[in-house]
């Protein structure tokens, strides 16, 4: 679906994106993670055909982005972090307007509204919507023309846990329908839960690219921490893959003296910090 090869871009003489190479397969959820100014926005502008003066190659849906025509957008849906709706129009009117811009037959508006629980609010003006409702409406605007590629920008940002869960379920439902999804988020939990693979981007370069699970496992083995009572409470830890070599643990197990035992894995955020030396927030 997406093939980026040795991509470089610069706004000035200094390179802003340097020699990026990656590919995204159809049906995959691919996450971009990185601090502000890392180059994620620029990368998305290149992939959506907004910036064409780049070096290297960026192919989306078999089209070189610098050579894209307006037909290119018939198969791309972009969900921005902020509402991009006409506030004085109703949700239904907004969807009818945006649907009229595409040659493809739009998905039924009522069905989309029902999918995100807005069926009873479709005739309300968007200015009357809450942030969560606007986020859901924005999301279905990106789905109107049933695109093969979805670019989602911070889809759960600012949403309450219920709306956030609903949004993540909708994203997973799109993946189940075979859509390819580019996701940018600062939320490591979302990335770990949703993405098949993530790319850590810092300073215009990809610092790491793999599945969240592999990134976590490759950089920090899980550890087991256990506690026992012996003149007060004591605790010790050992790597999960060296558990059998821990004589103290074996002894405590054989004597049934363990107070507690649990394993812990580094989070994606820990891995990001370890690899890039930066935090996302």
């Amino acid at each position: 679906m997406i093939q980026v090869n040795n991509l470089s871009f610069s706004y000035t003489k200094q390179p802003f994106i340097s020699h990026m190479t990656f590919s995204v397969s159809p049906g995959e959820i691919f996450g971009f993670l990185g601090p502000s100014g890392a180059g994620k926005s620029t990368l998305q502008k290149v992939l959506t055909g907004m910036l064409t003066a780049y070096q290297g190659s960026a192919m989306v849906n078999g089209v070189e982005c610098r050579k894209r025509t307006k037909r290119f957008y018939e198969d791309i849906g972009v969900d921005f972090e902020f509402s991009t709706m006409y506030e004085k129009l109703t949700a239904r009117e907004n969807l009818r307007f945006f649907a009229s811009l595409y040659e493809k037959k739009p998905r039924p508006i009522d069905e989309l509204l029902e999918m995100v629980g807005l069926e009873r609010d479709g005739d309300k003006r968007v200015s009357q919507y809450s942030k969560g409702m606007k986020a859901r409406l924005n999301f279905i605007r990106a789905l109107l023309h049933d695109p093969a590629l979805l670019c989602l920008d911070e889809p759960t940002n600012g949403l309450d846990p219920t709306n956030s869960r609903m949004m993540k379920d909708m994203i997973l439902a799109q993946k189940a329908r075979g859509k390819t999804i580019l996701l940018t988020t600062h939320n490591m939990q979302d990335a770990a839960e949703l993405c098949d693979r993530v790319a850590f981007i810092v300073g215009g370069r990809i610092c790491a690219l793999d599945s969240p699970h592999n990134l976590i496992m490759s950089k920090g083995a899980a550890t087991v921490t256990y506690t026992w009572l012996e003149d007060g409470e004591h605790s010790a830890s050992c790597p999960l893959d060296r558990l059998s070599a821990d004589g103290k643990l074996k002894k405590l197990i054989s004597e049934n003296r363990l107070q507690s035992i649990h394993s812990s894995e580094p989070t994606l955020n820990d891995i990001f910090m370890e690899i890039t030396g930066r935090t996302l927030l």
Partner: protein, 281 residues
């Protein structure tokens, strides 16, 4: 098909934002003003009213429309849709021209022009001053003026971020467009003005005579400037709005200007979309 949809939705947005209501009120006020002025002033008053408001409304309203769209971030969504910049601009020009045309038609009728008449009441003075009058010419002049001013409005509005900036930018445009056109309407510096002044028919002629005597006391350079002013696009538009058939060179100048402004507006819209589209990630 998409252009038709964009035009219809633009008209709907303008209706929702009260443009049509506002112009209904303004038109009623203008008609009241026209009916109050002496008959001999009426055609000049109508020409100035049409040129300075319905014909040039695009200059002022594009600032409001584009700033409103920017504040609602709808250009972000349009930038990643199949809409071409040319379609976006054409829709704005057509939708605003529609209001201009309706208001101008009402004012033309109120000033007493019969459609197709070559020298009606509206043209009674104009016939002496500018030659034959045709309400179709007035309406065509309104549409061409509206296109020029709307394109200028788009060029300015896409480059600014506040209403104050927009107002500041419109001042030089107004000076360049309005002053020569109004001077031309009153034949300031024109050799013809002498003959017109010799045939006083009312206050307008007295005014013109005064202007003529003040500005061109036999100055051939001023007369030459006035002759060139005849081909100045704003003057040509004013000529048409005042009901006079323009010279072919004049029409050519206006069409060339519209072409140049359209290309410039397209560049500005693409620039605006490039700055916005793709989202801030």
């Amino acid at each position: 098909m998409r252009l038709r949809s964009l035009v219809l939705w633009d008209i709907r947005f303008q209706t929702r934002y009260g443009f049509y209501f506002l112009y209904a009120v303004l038109t009623a006020i203008y008609v009241a003003i026209l009916s109050a002025v002496p008959e001999s002033w009426r055609e000049k008053a109508a020409a100035i009213l049409i040129f300075s408001d319905p014909a040039s409304m695009g200059l002022f309203f594009m600032g409001a429309i584009v700033l409103l769209e920017k504040s609602q971030r709808t250009p972000w969504a349009l930038a990643v849709s199949p809409v071409r910049a040319a379609e976006y601009i054409a829709a704005k020009v057509m939708s605003l021209s529609a209001i201009s045309l309706v208001v101008a038609a009402v004012l033309t009728a109120a000033a007493g022009v019969d459609a197709g008449a070559n020298a009606g009441a509206y043209g009674s003075v104009g016939a002496g001053a500018f030659g034959s009058v045709d309400s179709y010419i007035v309406l065509l002049g309104t549409v061409l003026s509206s296109a020029v001013f709307t394109l200028l409005g788009i060029i300015i509005a896409t480059r600014i971020s506040s209403l104050n900036q927009f107002i500041l930018w419109t001042v030089p445009v107004e000076l360049v467009c309005f002053v020569p056109a109004i001077l031309h309407l009153f034949r300031v510096g024109s050799p013809l003005a002498d003959s017109m002044a010799a045939n006083p028919r009312g206050p307008v002629q007295i005014c013109m005579q005064t202007c003529t005597q003040t500005c061109t006391p036999g100055s051939s350079s001023a007369a030459a400037a006035a002759a060139w002013l005849r081909y100045y696009p704003a003057s040509v538009c004013m000529e048409m709005v005042s009901g006079q058939v323009p010279s072919p060179i004049g029409i050519l100048m206006v069409m060339a200007l519209i072409g140049v402004l359209f290309v410039a507006a397209k560049y500005c819209v693409l620039n605006m979309w490039g700055r916005m589209g793709g989202g801030k990630l």
